[in-house]
């Protein structure tokens, strides 16, 4: 329990009063030491970036800062005062608030109610709502960040970016509880935003700096460097260093995070199939041919994907690219159009037909759509291709065990055992299991990847990238909806730009001839 850091004299009061200081924070879970003596300083009016791989202890640290986790040891100081945070309300009283990674708004309440939720103040008098006061309170918060949302709109009718604004407005309510500038923690605020929305968010973060301190957590190192003043890096539950953002490069941060010079080189390969294709001049029939596909949110989409090719689809929020992807898997109804896979018409009536035809789909919402959390790794992996573990109609446990163990080894999935519930694995390993689901039978011909690296850390990302390349190399046609433009550019052989439900442009992106993000953005808007 005791760490060398904790042994420091307690009475020492820091000379410059920091907005927040963490000393030697320790937290253990059964079998895991999540925090192993973390030190962190947040200065007044600065934006501090917090970087670290999954499992580095970021989320435990953040939870400790807002009172959701009780540390086993160490101290938290707020403005030179040692505090003990027992609950989220406690933290708010000390001026610490957090915007959670998964949005924490009640969808069926109004924006105003969400903003004041839990600290209604004069908005509720003796349990009775005073709607006018409440709207005024909410409006004040929204004004602070310059948002023009109707406070009485139901939250589930707002766009994602607007909800993010509501979320920030809500966190800023903690100002009412304390006379000091608050500390605002933003946990992965950009992971599901499109680039335009991210810009708006960054503008708001810079505004926040004028009256608050901000802790900004993101997996996208370029973002962290872009918006932050300083970046602190965690590794294995310890603080491993800090750098001023101005001097740092993503590669350097990355090195600190994984403890060695990892490469960003995974972007720069190209699938073997395409290279060989470019050498031969003969026109090939594409593996996937989509003609005039229309649905609720997209129209007249044409798309060709060759065997062994990775085609990225980019577009802003609302471009309809996710729905195209789901439609190809039979999970979204279509109104017109034809899809041909290897010369045979693809049945789009349901997911079963798509699976049977050798189409695989990795959904963006891994936790709710990608995996069945309480079920084992083995059962998740064999969920789709049941015949791979059966003889006739009967399940053969031994057959399943052999198969699953082979794939666990092949994809180097880090799991204690194939029988472990998948929800106990780290995000990257979960994603690998989800991918493996389509591979176990060896019959997948088209893979649709919807944000396959969302929420994964750098290391896990590289592994997923490597896997994608390998699959493409073996002839699988891949459609990729990437997490970022860089990812799309780096991974794809060709990029389709979608805008307002149509495929508007196609950009070739062969190895050595990659377009720049700016090229794409021009086409997207």
């Amino acid at each position: 329990m005791t760490t060398n850091l904790q042994a420091q004299p307690e009475a020492r009061v820091p000379a410059p009063v920091h907005a927040l200081e963490v000393r030697g924070l320790v937290k253990s879970y059964p079998g895991v030491k999540a925090l192993d003596g973390v030190d962190l300083v947040v200065r007044q009016h600065e934006v501090l970036g917090l970087a670290g791989e999954n499992g580095a202890g970021k989320s435990t640290l953040l939870k400790a800062l807002v009172g959701l986790v009780r540390p086993d040891g160490g101290e938290i100081w707020v403005r030179g005062e040692k505090v003990r945070l027992r609950s989220i309300v406690d933290a708010a009283d000390h001026g610490i608030g957090m915007v959670f990674q998964e949005q924490s708004l009640v969808p069926n309440l109004t924006a105003a109610e969400n903003i004041v939720l839990g600290s209604e103040g004069p908005g509720v008098r003796r349990g009775v709502y005073r709607w006018n006061t409440m709207r005024r309170l909410a409006q004040e918060q929204l004004d602070k960040i310059g948002s023009h949302i109707d406070p009485l709109a139901r939250t589930d009718t707002l766009s994602f970016a607007d909800r993010q604004m509501v979320e920030i407005a809500k966190v800023l309510r903690i100002e009412e509880r304390t006379s000091h500038p608050p500390v605002i923690i933003l946990d992965e605020p950009t992971s599901v935003l499109e680039s335009k929305e991210i810009e708006t968010l960054f503008t708001q973060v810079r505004r926040l700096r004028e009256f608050a301190s901000v802790v900004f957590v993101s997996h996208r190192l370029d973002e962290v460097l872009d918006v932050c003043d300083r970046v602190a890096v965690l590794r294995g539950g310890r603080s491993v260093g800090e750098v001023p953002a101005a001097d740092a490069a993503p590669a350097e941060l990355h090195r600190m995070m994984i403890g060695s010079t990892g490469g960003d080189d995974h972007y720069h390969g190209a699938s073997a199939a395409v290279r060989s294709d470019e050498r031969s001049d003969e026109p090939r029939t594409p593996r996937l041919v989509v003609r005039g596909l229309s649905g609720k949110t997209f129209r007249d989409v044409d798309l060709d994907v060759h065997a062994g090719e990775i085609v990225g689809i980019v577009g802003v929020h609302g471009s309809g690219r996710e729905d195209v992807c789901r439609a190809l898997f039979g999970a979204e109804p279509t109104t017109a159009g034809e899809v041909v896979l290897d010369g045979e018409r693809l049945d789009l009536s349901g997911t079963r037909a798509a699976c049977a035809a050798g189409v695989g789909y990795v959904p963006a919402e891994r936790k709710t759509e990608g995996m069945v959390g309480p079920m084992s790794v083995a059962d998740n992996m064999t969920l789709t291709k049941q015949h791979s573990r059966c003889t006739g109609p009967l399940v053969r446990p031994r057959k399943q065990a052999t198969l699953v163990d082979r794939w666990i080894e092949r994809l180097s999935i880090r799991t204690p055992h194939r029988g472990t519930a998948i929800q106990r694995l780290s995000g990257g390993n979960q994603q690998k299991v989800v991918l493996a689901r389509w591979l176990v039978a060896g019959d997948v011909r088209l893979l649709l990847l919807d944000h396959p690296t969302r929420g994964l850390d750098v290391g896990a990302r590289s592994e997923v990238y490597r896997l994608m390349r390998e699959l493409a190399g073996s002839g699988v046609a891949t459609v990729l909806l990437a997490d970022s433009l860089e990812e799309a550019i780096g991974m794809s052989d060709r990029i389709i730009v979608m805008s307002d439900g149509r495929a508007t442009t196609e950009v070739a992106a062969p190895a050595g001839g990659k377009p720049t993000p700016l090229d794409l953005v021009k086409e997207m808007v």
Binding site: L117, G127, F298, G350, I496, V497, T504
Partner: protein, 349 residues
């Protein structure tokens, strides 16, 4: 339109977007306040069904029958007021038969009656409602403390309530001789029995609670996203207990109303009200998953169910078929509400 494949072959650049004429607007949610179109379904159905019966049966369209329908809806409306809040939270409540039985016997024994010398009048009603609220509170406590699903806690409390009622019943029917309580069922104001006005008052109170009280709004929010409330520093448990307590109080009042109608305290005062209240709430548009609907929705549902029951008798449908027709209409009503918003890959539990 140029095939994207060809377009992309030549250069890394686009051949341009020519689709500027009729761009499909992306489906983006628009900020919205107030009533949605979906909420209009049940009231329309009510009007239609009322119209159909009015055409079919001359007895149905008389003023006295409309009064009769409203009077008949009174007890169910009060029960439904209570259950609506529970359903809004996404929980379920099967405790009304027991709680109503207990409160019916209690009130019959506390006001002027043939069993003892009590004559507490309104105070007796208050005590009965408080007892009912206490039983409701117990099911809420069992939910949040023992973490037992409300389905079971309320089922258990229902049995407990029936037991308590049977204990107090002690073999001799308590008959009410209290003039006030008897008057509620008999005396009329503006053509409607006092009980009906009480039910209307309950609906109003329920609506105010739902719209203007923290309890009501939080009940709504718990159905929407319980975990978010916790993250916002709201302790959910007390509100859950409070909602069950309030529901219990409504059932208690309903038990008193049944006692007033029957002139006697019956252990079976609440028999059947559990499922009919859920039916009414659901038909009115309150979803069982929580976070939707409300008191007004449920009240429309109550009227729908009552009109249906009454109308079927009036047009001469065999009493055996009546339950079946009601069942069909419930399924149809929900289907009509659900089908327009069907999605692929939709989760239906």
């Amino acid at each position: 339109m140029t095939s994207p494949t060809e377009a992309g072959r030549g250069a890394g650049r686009a051949t341009g977007t020519e689709a500027d004429g009729d761009v499909v607007p992306a489906q983006r949610p628009r900020p919205r306040r107030g009533v949605s179109l979906r909420d209009a379904g049940p009231p329309i159905a009510l009007v239609v069904i009322f119209g159909v019966f009015a055409v079919l049966s001359p007895d149905f369209r008389t003023v006295s029958n409309v009064q009769n329908v409203l009077d008949a809806a009174a007890v169910l409306a009060v029960v439904t007021c209570g259950i609506s809040f529970v359903l809004m939270m996404g929980s379920i409540d099967l405790s009304s038969p027991g709680i109503m039985g207990a409160s019916a016997i209690t009130v019959a024994l506390l006001v002027a009656n043939n069993r003892n010398d009590n004559d507490l009048g309104v105070l007796g009603v208050v005590v009965a409602v408080l007892l009912a609220a206490g039983l409701g509170c117990l099911s809420g406590l069992a939910l949040v403390v023992l973490k037992v699903p409300s389905f079971m806690t309320t089922l258990g409390i229902s049995a407990v309530g029936l037991g308590v009622a049977t204990l107090m019943f002690a073999g001799v029917q308590p008959n009410v001789s209290d003039t006030m309580l008897q008057g509620w069922a008999v005396e009329r104001f503006l053509g409607l029995a006092y009980l009906t006005w009480i039910a209307l008052a309950c609906v109003l109170v329920g609506w105010l609670v739902q719209r203007y009280s923290r309890l009501g709004r939080y009940a709504f929010a718990i159905g929407g996203a319980e975990e978010v409330l916790a993250l916002s520093g709201v302790k959910v448990a007390p509100y859950k207990v409070a909602v069950f307590t309030m529901a219990g109080a409504f059932y208690g009042l309903a038990g008193v109303m049944v006692t007033s109608q029957l002139g006697a305290g019956l252990v079976q005062a609440g028999r059947g009200y559990d499922f009919s209240a859920i039916t009414a709430a659901v038909v009115g548009g309150t979803l069982l998953i929580g976070g939707r609907g409300g008191i007004l929705h449920s009240t429309v549902g109550v009227l729908l169910v009552t009109v249906l029951t009454n109308g079927l008798v009036q047009v001469g449908v065999s009493p055996y078929w009546q339950g079946g027709v009601q069942g069909l209409i419930v399924v149809a009503a929900v289907a009509a509400a659900v089908i327009p918003q069907r999605r692929r890959n939709q989760v239906t539990k």
